[in-house]
Symmetry: C2
């Protein structure tokens, strides 16, 4: 089970003379693959932002359509269904914001990779010069200077490689912690919203009527309203529970007060707490925006 062999470097199919240009566009070789991944994530995030925006628009369209049917039950339920659908859309937007945070951390890996490249290149260049000089002028006094330079370059490269592995491992964990926590968070909240939304459907009597007979009067307006309240409360409870976890973790580095400001939103439930404070405000703003509308 591997996804490796399914994709090839897009550069492989190009004629040789254009490779140099293609490469230079992509930055240092070492950071090229991560750079490509970061660009693809940009496209994913854009797609989720589009989906979120359209989902919120559709919620309004659903409500307007319901109103235009002159059917009291459809009108009330479509409006309330619209509220929950808009909130589902907002969750999609928050997911996109969290993916943006993940993407920012991937950039730290890419930047480290890019900055390590000159150290590697420099060491190779000096070693190469020594080889050439040994061949042309084995007794050259410049050889000793170059050997000293090589020792320094090797020391520098050793530090650079240690930095690279340290940053790469720490940041890939941090990035995917955020990414996966965001996936779980979106899923948990959308399950809450979708389950409450399905309760609304039960209030719609779809027994067929015969021509001329009136529909029974719609009596579920208060119940439908309480579905929205339940959904809002359940979302808040999830947010509080998640906040509890995030705060406990953050107490150890003294940033708990920052997390408190993000009370309305649900931070990821396990592991990714270190990012909670930073994203608190941004997400609190987005959350509950449909509910308040």
């Amino acid at each position: 089970m591997s996804v490796r062999s399914t994709k090839r470097d897009p550069g492989l199919g190009l004629p040789r003379f254009s490779m140099a240009t293609f490469r230079s566009l992509q930055g240092p070789e070492l950071s090229r693959k991560m750079n490509r991944l970061i660009k693809s994530e940009h496209a994913v995030i854009g797609a989720y932002e589009t989906a979120a925006r359209e989902r919120v628009n559709i919620a309004a369209q659903l409500s307007e359509w319901g109103e235009s049917t002159d059917d009291e039950a459809i009108s009330d339920l479509s409006d309330k269904l619209g509220v929950l659908m808009a909130e589902i859309g907002d969750q999609e937007d928050m997911y996109a914001q969290n993916l943006e945070d993940y993407r920012t951390i991937l950039k730290q890996i890419r930047n480290t990779e890019g900055s390590v490249q000159p150290s590697r290149d420099n060491r190779l260049k000096i070693a190469d010069e020594i080889q050439k000089l040994k061949y042309r002028e084995p007794m050259s006094p410049k050889l000793e200077t170059l050997e000293q330079e090589l020792v320094r370059a090797e020391a520098q490269a050793l530090v650079a490689e240690a930095q690279l592995t340290n940053i790469t491992r720490a940041k890939i964990k941090e990035a995917f912690d955020i990414h996966l926590a965001a996936t779980v968070e979106r899923a948990e909240k959308q399950i809450i919203l979708a389950r409450h939304a399905r309760r609304l459907l039960l209030f719609l009597d779809d027994t067929p009527v015969v021509p001329g007979d009136p529909r029974l009067a719609y009596k579920h307006e208060l119940e439908a309203r309480s579905v929205l309240e339940d959904a809002e409360n359940d979302l808040r409870t999830t947010a509080r529970e998640s906040l509890g976890t995030a705060t406990e973790e953050q107490d150890t580095d003294g940033t708990a007060s920052e997390a408190k400001e993000g009370e309305e939103e649900g931070q990821q439930q396990e592991g990714g707490g270190q990012a909670g404070g930073r994203r608190g405000k941004k997400k609190a703003r987005a959350s509950g925006q449909a509910m308040a509308a």
Copy 2:
């Protein structure tokens, strides 16, 4: 709490002379709002398809990046993480397919609305003619014919309006049953995949090393592989459980055998079983595609 007032009809801002064209583009007035909603859903579905496609590409890019790091642990874990990310992407694609099914059902409402329009128009037209004729020629013999026509038109309109309310209520319930079940299904499966993916991160030792010191050897290859197997089993179990519900419902209309073909996929868990058979094959094809790669 309402989403109604937030959006206005895009036609309202246009100068009067272009309204006729704008309206004729949108089809019969009665179906215009639903038509707009159906078009917006098309954009949402497209966004999810993009996200799904890019997510699967990124999974391969992640694995290739990991291989290029020459770090055994990163290489193994990025490849396996890629498998789970690709499967999360496939779930996004199945979600888009389910939304397409929901959208198809909304079209049935729009089409019924469109076909009811002529009945309404006809009844109004005849009533209008009668009014005019009564004013101009109160004793015209044509009046009686028109009155008879009106009675027939009213009977037809009565049937049309009953069809409209019956179709609208039944289909809006069916459509959102599918939509919301798809939301829950995507969420449940992505939670399974994301939780297992987080287990992989625990196998990555991110203790910083000092320059020159080697990393401890990576020993989690077998454990990491079993994470993938666990994820696959959990997904299958969810699919079977959902299938159980869907089959029970489908036994009543004799289409259970069709549902069996969709064994690999997880049909919606509650309520939306009637659509399971139709979508079974399509989804079985998509599911597990990353796992098998």
